[in-house]
């Protein structure tokens, strides 16, 4: 896809994330908007994953460790054809499989996540298994920055470096905010890059909303000959795309009112139209 097409997809995904959160009257609004460009690039440009090959052991793996941003994942998986988008109408409804965190009951979801600090150790297990089986695949896992406070991440970071898991790519959705407020005020995890470098990882910084930078970063990693696991620090903005939600911590898991919903959709539609004009 072209950059413009991918940028349009991101806007389309953002509109849908808000639509289904509004419909469910629940969801992690700002975090889903923060990571959606990363998921867009992974699923549309990078991952060797589709409904056709999902049972094939040689597929790439995507594990969403920051499971609370599940609405972003649900919208992208629907777009990739894992299930009809209409199923998202049941999000968070009684007896629906579409619950507020990823589960394997949803086609396309690799692992049950939701409790923080679980995705990286599981991804390490997947990456070790791939090496044992000589499978040329990559394991991608999306971490939240608040999540980095969980000690299990640092255990797994050491294990990944020890086993030279160059088939493991962790992506940090680095919006620098968590439920209570700014990371540095709640419990400062900075400097993240230096810590991972000290733990034996390669670290790469990208603008997590710049499609070209994301594509280039992931392509470069897949060609790189290194023995190290890689952390992509994607600098993002919580609530990205809707001006009144951006960097405003109250949108962590707030559902928009009717008026706010209308304003948000209008703003996203305007962004879409200005992109279309730019195309002409």
């Amino acid at each position: 896809m072209t950059t413009i097409e991918l940028r349009k997809k991101s806007i389309e995904y953002r509109k849908k994330v808000l639509k289904y959160i509004k419909n469910a009257n629940a969801g992690h609004t700002a975090g889903s908007l923060s990571c959606i460009d990363i998921l867009n690039v992974l699923y549309n440009e990078i991952l060797n994953v589709s409904p056709r090959n999902f049972k094939d052991n040689s597929r790439d793996r995507y594990i969403q460790s920051k499971g609370h941003s599940v609405e972003a994942l649900y919208v992208v998986l629907a777009d990739k054809g894992f299930y009809p988008e209409s199923e998202l109408e049941s999000l968070c409804r009684f007896q629906s499989h579409f619950i507020g965190h990823p589960t394997k009951k949803i086609p396309g979801v690799e692992h049950n996540t939701g409790a923080l600090g679980h995705g990286l150790p599981i991804s390490v297990g997947n990456a070790i298994a791939a090496k044992m089986d000589d499978l040329d695949l990559k394991v991608y896992t999306l971490l939240g920055d608040g999540e980095l406070l969980e000690g299990s991440n640092w255990e797994a970071a050491m294990i990944a470096a020890h086993y030279k898991l160059n088939n493991l790519v962790a992506i940090l959705d680095y919006n620098k905010q968590q439920i209570t407020g700014d990371n540095e005020e709640v419990l400062n995890s900075a400097p993240v890059a230096e810590k991972f470098v000290a733990f034996g990882w390669s670290v790469k910084h990208v603008d997590g909303h710049n499609i070209d930078e994301l594509v280039a970063a992931f392509r470069e990693i897949s060609l790189r000959e290194s023995e190290k696991p890689t952390l992509v620090i994607a600098h993002t903005i919580k609530g990205k795309g809707v001006s009144f939600m951006e960097k405003n911590i109250k949108w962590h898991h707030k559902v928009p009112s009717d008026e706010q919903y209308k304003l948000a959709q209008e703003e996203l539609q305007a962004s879409m139209e200005s992109l279309s004009k730019a195309e002409i």
Partner: protein, 318 residues
């Protein structure tokens, strides 16, 4: 008495049987993977590591990741045995067991070594008297405490074939063969000795003193006491509980676990909710700071011994 002959037949630690069983499995199947948390020595897995270096993953002293990594390996098709002292495996890694193994239905075999009070004088940090209780409350987990070498060998073999997660815990004390009864399947109690006056339902390394007590009660008091190894704590063999409650009016449970939430309370719950009119007592480790000492000293202090169990049976019968 056949039981007396059997009980004197020497055995080895269930831990030794576990490591030998894994060797056998690994020889035939390269998908058998052992994950350790700097626990290969405690788990008697040094020979395994030497013979199958490509089938062991060392995660270091990191029990949360031991289970998380094991779940990742399992989801990629490996037959995984995650091995760590039961005290750490079922406490520090509890959330990984709940979410990454049980809830995610990754058929990891969780092996809790040196369980119960096996570590004796190392103290409460190293005891696992909570594991049955916490794991029983987690859906999709079979919980097994084999009594003797035969049960351990069978448990490891069956676990390797199970399509769902299993927790197996045992100690490191040499265990004699307790019965020639070769019926072993998960979820079915194993009759170790037949009786008529009372029955002792025991599990893991407490089946041995239960059997010693039953033999002593026959010799000294002319009582016929049945003994069952209820190796599977969950799913509990409810059919057997029905049969036992019909045959016996006196039932005693014995376990190397807190009296809260283990085998005893599982049986009590079933008997009470199904209106079984039995005289019933639970023996285990009481809810207090556990006395210090070796495993056997702790057992004796709390009456988990030939004498202590005999006394409790006599008290109940009278």
């Amino acid at each position: 008495m056949k039981e007396i002959e059997n009980i004197t037949k020497e055995g080895v630690a269930n831990l030794e049987v576990f490591s030998a069983s894994l060797q056998k499995l690994a020889e035939k199947d390269k998908n058998i993977i052992v994950v350790t948390s700097d626990s290969r020595g405690s788990g008697k897995l040094m020979p395994f590591a030497e013979d199958y270096p490509d089938q062991i993953v060392e995660v270091g002293i990191a029990e949360q990741s031991l289970v998380g990594v094991a779940a990742g390996l399992s989801s990629a098709g490996k037959k995984v045995f995650a091995v760590s002292p039961a005290c750490f495996l079922t406490a520090r890694s509890l959330e990984q067991i709940k979410n990454d193994v049980a809830y995610s239905d990754n058929p990891v075999n969780l092996i809790g070594i040196s369980a119960g009070v096996s570590y004796g004088a190392l103290g409460s940090t190293h005891h696992s008297l909570h594991d049955f209780a916490v794991l029983r409350a987690i859906n999709n987990l079979t919980i097994v405490a084999p009594a003797d070498n035969y049960e351990t060998e069978m448990a490891i073999k069956l676990a390797s074939e199970m399509p769902s997660p299993v927790y197996i815990r045992f100690g490191k004390k040499a265990m004699p063969t307790l019965s020639e009864n070769k019926d072993f399947e998960f979820g079915k109690g194993r009759s170790v000795r037949k009786g008529k006056d009372a029955v002792i339902i025991a599990t893991g390394e407490t089946v041995f003193p239960a059997l010693q007590a039953a033999i002593a009660l026959e010799e000294k008091n002319d009582l016929q006491i049945g003994v069952v190894s209820m190796h599977t704590i969950k799913p509990l063999d409810l059919e057997m509980l029905d049969r036992l409650s019909e045959k016996y009016s006196v039932i005693l449970t014995v376990e190397e676990h807190s009296v809260y939430g283990g085998l005893g309370e599982a049986c009590a719950s079933y008997f009470l909710q199904n209106k079984k009119p039995v005289k019933f007592r639970i023996m285990g480790i009481p809810d207090e700071y556990t006395v210090t000492g070796s495993q056997l000293e702790i057992f004796e202090h709390y009456g988990i011994s030939e004498e202590g169990i005999s006394e409790k049976v006599l008290e109940l019968i009278s």
